[in-house]
């Protein structure tokens, strides 16, 4: 179900005593929290790229991360499934199912099967469409042909790609168009049956039609997955997400229901950004 938000500049923003930040504090008794961060700080070398982002993400909802280039969206997202290991130093807690996954004791490979990720540029393997999807599974011991066939079909259907490729599953994935490749990559992530799907500008490299297809796919997936998506596209954020977090210079400035962010932001900076005054 898409939001119907008119993206007009929010002109009546006049509040004199507007807060400098507003973080929606998700009450645990009202919402089921899928993953949350506490005191998160990310350093590239000595350079603090992200701080003060205590966010909770509701289960089976789509949350958008928006903000200007360099504001720390990717840094935040990549920290959630530890893709920043070896690249950046991440301090603080990332709570997932009652466990802090930002600790040495966590098996990151296992964890990433629960928290999948899709990147900006489609990155299928130089393998067949079929093997792209099954590869990670077979590495973990799923080898029954019938089971694999089923998973391939289900995940391709979920990613809205099945009808286009069902007759050529043995074709190289590198022969797919950009939009198809991106949906294949989403299917590949879904095949592991993750809880949470992280997407970093998944449709920014795609043409409008493919981009709309990916959006539809995400809306379909919402019933079963918690989705966190970085996007530069305000319309996209408004259309598909339930919550939106606005990042600015390494901080989360405002986090609220998408509806509120785009109609009645509480922080002046957010208002400036979504009405296109900077960024």
């Amino acid at each position: 179900m898409a939001n119907n938000i008119d993206l007009k500049p929010v002109s009546e923003f006049i509040s004199e005593n507007a807060p400098e930040r507003f973080i929606y504090d998700m009450p645990a008794e009202k919402h089921e929290v899928a993953i949350s961060t506490k005191n998160l700080q990310v350093f590239y070398g000595d350079n603090l790229a992200l701080s003060e982002g205590d966010l909770s993400f509701e289960r089976y909802k789509i949350t958008s991360l928006i903000g200007a280039s360099g504001s720390g969206k990717s840094t935040f997202l990549r920290s959630l499934n530890r893709m920043n290991d070896g690249v950046a130093t991440v301090k603080g807690n990332i709570m997932y199912r009652g466990v802090d996954i930002n600790t040495k004791a966590i098996d990151v490979y296992e964890m990433r099967r629960h928290i999948g990720m899709v990147f900006q540029r489609p990155n299928p393997f130089a393998k067949s469409i079929y093997n792209n999807i099954t590869f990670a599974l077979t590495q973990r011991g799923v080898t029954k042909k019938q089971e694999l066939d089923e998973i391939v079909e289900t995940s391709l259907r979920q990613a809205a790609l099945w009808d286009e490729v069902k007759d050529e599953l043995n074709k190289s994935a590198l022969a797919l168009s950009g939009g198809q490749a991106q949906r294949l990559v989403i299917a590949r992530a879904l095949a592991l049956k993750p809880d949470i799907l992280l997407l970093d500008e998944p449709s920014s490299a795609l043409d409008p039609i493919s981009s709309a297809q990916v959006e539809d796919t995400l809306l379909e997936l919402k019933n079963k997955y918690t989705i966190i998506i970085v996007t530069h596209n305000m319309q996209q954020a408004a259309r598909i997400s339930d919550y939106t977090a606005f990042f600015h210079m390494g901080k989360v400035i405002e986090y609220d229901l998408t509806r509120k962010i785009f109609t009645r932001p509480k922080v002046a900076l957010t208002n400036d950004y979504i009405s296109g005054n900077f960024g």
Partner: protein, 294 residues
């Protein structure tokens, strides 16, 4: 002079230079082939050399060249592959990596005659391998290793980082990603590199003169037991290769048809090296096509 004329002149000069280079190459090849090809015959390619009379062939030298090439490749490929994987996929910037890289660089710029002399002193003399296939193969490995490592490393580096990220985002370990994602994607260009280096190794003479030796004792091609002295497979026998043979008969050959043998042998050497070079790209392109289409 406006930009357009300048551009025209520059383009012209570049064309001319490239043309001259191509012309020199073609002239050289034509010279060798025209002189040599008329002497080629099945007899010439298969029969043993004769030291004093006319009518000798290059059969044993040809076999030695291929045998040494295969042995050298068998030894150097796994080492080069391991080193390249380490350098490109695992090594972090640091003292150790810098030392390894510098070593490879120096090793690759050593003149092959120096590699040969080193092989002579260490393997032939010190380790008592004598002038043998084994000494030659090890010398060729030393000669080949740095270049092959570099070429495989380049092949791996060409695989975009997106692929590695895709692997780790799916919960695959780095090793799984390297073995099952990165390596297969790099196979076409690795194969191209290996075949090209095979061409280089095949034509190498200086590293072999003092290691594999300058004599080609008669072989019994019916005896494939590597422990027999006349077996072609025996790794401890001296083995003059085609390239060494050309060098040798040109400096001290006394058979009456020495110039014909030399011309024929050179033609064969060039043809084989050219075959390696052309097929390298062909095979690579074919594999790449296989990987990216149906």
């Amino acid at each position: 002079m406006n930009a357009k004329t300048a551009d025209k002149i520059a383009t012209g000069v570049i064309y001319a230079i490239s043309g001259i280079v191509a012309l020199i190459l073609i002239a050289m090849l034509a010279f060798i082939l025209v002189r040599g090809v008329p002497h080629l015959s099945w007899h010439f390619l298969t029969s043993p050399a004769k030291a004093f009379e006319a009518g000798g062939g290059i059969g044993i030298q040809l076999f030695n060249s291929f045998y040494l090439l295969i042995l050298a490749m068998i030894i150097s490929f796994p080492i080069a592959l391991g080193a390249a994987i380490y350098l490109n996929e695992y090594a972090r910037k640091g003292k150790f990596t810098t030392i390894v890289r510098t070593a490879i660089e120096i090793l690759s710029s050593l003149p092959s005659v120096v590699v040969g002399l080193f092989g002579f002193l260490l393997f032939v003399v010190k380790f008592h391998f004598g002038f043998s296939i084994l000494s030659g193969a090890v010398a060729l490995t030393l000669f080949n290793l740095p270049l092959l490592t570099r070429s495989i490393e380049t092949s791996l580096a060409q695989i975009p980082n997106l692929q590695r990220e895709a692997g780790s985002a799916l919960g695959l370990s780095r090793w799984e990603t390297v073995i099952h994602v990165i390596l297969p994607a790099a196979v076409p260009s690795i194969v191209t590199g290996v075949v090209l280096s095979a061409g280089r190794v095949f034509g190498e003479a200086a590293a072999l003169i003092y290691t594999a030796g300058q004599s080609a004792p008669a072989l019994n091609f019916a005896d494939w037991n590597p422990f027999n002295i006349s077996s072609p497979l025996n790794p401890m026998r001296p083995a003059e290769t085609l390239a060494v043979h050309i060098w040798k008969i040109n400096s001290e050959g006394i058979m009456p048809d020495v110039s014909a043998v030399s011309a024929g042998a050179s033609a064969v050497l060039i043809i084989v090296v050219l075959l390696f070079n052309f097929s390298a790209r062909k095979i690579g392109a074919r594999l790449h096509q296989k990987l990216t289409s149906a």
